[in-house]
């Protein structure tokens, strides 16, 4: 039985920072940035991070299945919010996956996602690799303009697959094109990286793979080589003998290059449009190279993620405030006001009692009166019932609802004022006063329709912690 890809999904933050505003801000210092001053890059909202984007991408993928229970969940990133608190477990609980799962973080390399994917495909288990990156670069750097934030997910298993795994190859070479030992990346000259790095290491891995699989470079229909160097993929393709038309665009001027998430993001994009029989060559470069070869099957057109890369690309809003980008990425020390000084500690024992609500967004449904409610308390909320311990778990994560009441609060502390929040009535029952996110002024009113999304609720800068919770996003205005 063949193994391969059974599903895919993606997420790109809605905000697309116009690169012209970055170039303009730094032209006094580095006029060469103007050459990159066209196009845009994705940027996380203040309440998005590697985990929240990962949840979105995974949910996008899972939405394409009738049912899928991954036995392994690999989470790949070089920008995890926690260095020691398994990020993949937060991801698993936000997805409300069963606890009997091998969850693992894979990090410290631009190959993190492809290495995880290789490991999964070479094993026996059905699983999912989620890759997500919230990239941070120094203000005024080229990276700031070329990089973007995004996430993608790929499900694997046996049986009827969308793309059969033909083979994989890995090379480990401590070629230090860049590294991150502190807060930001440090890199070496681009031309050297291209000539001594990409052009030597990638062909070595790919040629061995093609030979092993008995495939020819000219047969490759889609060639994925994640990089922020515009001229490198054509040079590598030429060296390998791959048709330049097969190169999958790195989206540097539309989304930005999404680091360790880039290979899966481009793979998800390719899978959306690949034809049966197409050979897809996925590579990733970083202290060596991973190369994976897939062949699209007849089932390729049958899988539909909730939005996919094309949906995520379309769901965009133009951001023209570079100051906001700097603030959201903690690149300036800003005055958040005295209201922001309030202690934001999370009481971990209290959090542990409420994980089902806070992370999984699970409420209750009363077995006696049928009332759906959130949060789930000991007594049923229905005043005609009030039964004790009568509620079964009831998930709200995929629910939609209607705004009953709302405001735009300009007094309370918020990382991006005004704070929008209000009372939401969920379809099928349940009501909750909750935060809204991604609100565009003038588009919210009582009656607006919402979906819910896992987001950062608060940063505890004093202790290096962050709280997450679910927020409502307007999907349809009255």
């Amino acid at each position: 039985m063949s193994r391969g890809i059974t599903g895919f999904g993606a997420y790109i933050p809605q905000a697309r920072l116009q690169r012209a505003v970055i170039a303009e801000a730094h032209a006094w210092f580095d006029a060469s940035l103007k050459s990159l001053g066209r196009g845009q890059r994705s940027m996380c909202n203040w309440d998005e991070d590697t985990i929240t984007m990962g949840v979105e991408a995974a949910a996008d993928c899972l939405a394409g299945f009738d049912s899928f229970a991954p036995e392994s969940l690999y989470f790949a990133s070089t920008t995890f919010p926690f260095l020691d608190r398994q990020n993949s477990v937060v991801l698993a609980e936000a997805l409300d996956l069963p606890r009997q799962i091998l969850a693992m973080d894979v990090s410290a390399s631009q190959r993190a996602a492809t290495s995880a994917l290789l490991a999964l495909l070479q094993g026996e288990r059905a699983g999912m690799v989620v890759a997500s990156e919230h990239r941070r670069a120094k203000a005024g750097s080229r990276a700031e303009m070329l990089w973007g934030d995004a996430a993608a997910a790929v499900a694997t298993g046996g049986g009827p697959v969308l793309a059969e795994f033909v083979g994989g190859e890995s090379l480990a070479t401590d070629f230090v094109d860049h590294y991150r030992g502190g807060e930001f990346d440090y890199d070496w000259e681009e031309r050297w990286i291209r000539d001594e790095g990409y052009l030597k290491i990638v062909p070595e891995a790919v040629n061995r793979l093609l030979e092993k699989c008995g495939a020819g470079a000219e047969d490759i229909a889609h060639f994925i080589l994640p990089t922020d160097q515009a001229r490198t993929p054509p040079a590598v393709a030429k060296r390998l003998g791959i048709d330049p038309g097969a190169i999958v665009d790195n989206q540097a001027a539309t989304v930005g290059v999404a680091g360790a998430a880039q290979p899966l993001l481009l793979l998800a994009k390719t899978l959306e449009s690949a034809n049966p029989g197409d050979l897809i060559l996925l590579t990733a470069f970083g202290q060596g190279c991973d190369a994976l070869l897939f062949r699209a099957t007849e089932a390729i057109g049958g899988f539909k993620p909730a939005a996919g890369v094309s949906g995520a690309l379309a769901a965009s809003r133009e951001e023209t405030s570079y100051a906001r980008f700097l603030a959201f990425n903690d690149l300036v020390e800003r005055d958040i006001g005295k209201r922001g000084e309030t202690d934001k500690q999370t009481y971990l024992s209290g959090y542990n009692r409420r994980r089902d609500l806070v992370t999984s967004f699970v409420g209750g449904k009363c077995r006696i009166c049928g009332t759906v409610q959130i949060p789930r308390e000991k007594y049923c909320v229905n005043p005609e019932c009030n039964a004790l311990d009568s509620q079964d778990s009831y998930s709200f994560a995929e629910k939609q609802g209607t705004v009953l009441t709302w405001t735009a609060d300009r007094l309370t502390f918020d990382w991006s004022p005004p704070a929008y929040f209000g009372m939401v009535q969920f379809d099928g029952g349940g009501k909750l006063m909750m935060d809204f996110t991604e609100v565009r002024e003038g588009t919210i009113d009582s009656g607006s329709r919402i979906s819910v999304h896992f987001r950062v609720r608060q940063f505890d800068q004093q202790r290096g912690f962050r709280k997450y919770f679910w927020k409502a996003r307007i999907i349809e205005t009255t």
Binding site: L404, T405, T407, L411, T412, A419, G422, M423, D435, S446
Partner: protein
């Protein structure tokens, strides 16, 4: 069958500090200011007070925990002092404790005092604070105006009003209270405003603008209560008695059950029905002479008048714009300026309202004196529209 509190307890004396930004006054100073006036009005000595109830809403922030700050500030004579806190209903809650103590016969003379020192935060508005281990995990980080803006949007949706009409009525609520505040020397805000000023003011939490918000003030108010017999034996005349004292506390139905749509205050409707029963009031709009309601925000006052059955449901906008609750209207509301202009030191507000009622009933309200008031209603709302505590007190001639 419970008989209720009607006419069992009278007010022996009351006091109220000047409300406002009292940069020079500590919580103790504010308490003493109200207490001295109260003692003088009651005509008794400190040593005659047998028990006391002390209300402060945001205690840990200013006055400190427990009943001791009051016992120390007033040098009370080692009597039982009980600290109470029920958000904005705190002042009335302190009053309820003292009144119930006298009514029970456990003591003859009891004191209720509320105080709040809000202007030690370093910024405008109410203090930004934690809402506890549980709520901080998932509650929006709502401010008070943000919470009450929900009432405005819910009310507007329910009654299909346009934004402009509701905003104009909200503006009129504040214009009226500013006009009343001018005549009150103890009020925090003492200048008139126009409807247009209120409408044009910047949003604090849409649709609540600057002039839709009450004053954030320092202040204290207190009452000494006793039985009618003791009051008479002390030579008191023109006695003012307690007619009703009710409290309704949300149990989570509004916030979690779809039977509530966010357009009204469920607790106020429940507490009002109970208070009218207790006071024997059949037709509130005709029998009540004056009201002091919890106008933390203009929209709260407008909706509250409906919930108290003093305006027809859904017709609050018309009643307000027709001037029914203006000083010269048929049922004056906030004749002392209300929370809006007298100010809102949280723990003191319920007692401040009773203080105004009491002065009016005794004909001592000076330039803002109403003609022959007989029955006053005071209403507090602590918390948020979806989760709150409503207290109602009614006082009148014995």
């Amino acid at each position: 069958m419970a008989q209720g509190i009607k006419d069992k307890v009278v007010i022996l004396g009351m006091g109220c500090s000047k409300f406002g930004e009292r940069w020079d006054a500590s919580p103790s100073d504010l308490m003493v200011e109200a207490f001295e006036e109260c003692l003088g009005d009651a005509g008794i000595e400190r040593g005659e007070i047998e028990a006391a109830w002390f209300g402060a809403g945001i205690d840990a922030f200013h006055v400190g925990a427990s009943a001791m700050p009051m016992a120390i500030a007033l040098r009370l004579n080692y009597i039982p002092v009980t600290k109470v806190e029920n958000m904005c209903a705190t002042g009335t809650e302190a009053f309820r404790g003292a009144v119930y103590a006298v009514a029970s016969g456990a003591c003859d003379i009891a004191l209720a005092l509320g105080v709040e020192k809000l202007k030690d935060t370093g910024y405008g508005g109410l203090p930004q604070r934690s809402r506890g281990v549980e709520n901080d995990m998932y509650w929006p980080n709502l401010s008070a105006p943000g919470a009450f803006a929900q009432l405005a949007t819910g009310y507007r949706a329910r009654h299909r009003l346009n934004k402009q009409d509701l905003k104009r009525a909200m503006a009129h609520v504040s214009v009226k209270s500013h006009a009343n505040g001018v005549k009150n020397p103890k009020a925090h805000l003492r200048r008139e405003i126009t409807e247009q000023q209120a409408i044009d003011a910047p949003y604090i939490a849409e649709p609540i603008g600057l002039f839709d918000c009450c004053g954030v003030s320092d202040g204290s108010a207190c009452a000494i209560v006793t039985t009618p017999e003791i009051a008479r034996s002390l030579g008191k005349q023109n006695l003012v008695s307690v007619k009703a004292l009710q409290l309704a506390v949300s149990n989570g139905t509004e916030s979690g059950h779809e039977s509530w749509d966010g357009s009204y205050l469920k607790t106020t409707r429940i507490a009002a029905r109970r208070a009218y029963d207790e006071a024997g009031v059949r037709k509130p709009a005709q029998e009540i002479s004056m009201t002091e309601v919890h106008d933390c925000f203009s929209i709260t006052e407008l909706v509250t008048m409906e919930d108290l059955q003093l305006a027809e449901e859904g017709k609050g906008v018309t009643a307000v714009l027709d001037g029914e609750f203006d000083a010269e209207g048929k049922l004056p509301c906030q004749i002392d300026g209300g929370l809006k202009c007298f100010g809102h030191p949280i723990g003191a507000s319920g007692l401040r309202m009773i203080y105004e009622n009491y002065l009016q009933l005794q004909g001592r309200a000076g330039p803002r004196q109403l003609a022959d008031p007989k029955l006053g209603l005071n209403h507090n709302l602590g918390g948020f529209p979806h989760q709150n505590i409503c207290s109602i007190s009614m006082i009148g001639h014995l």
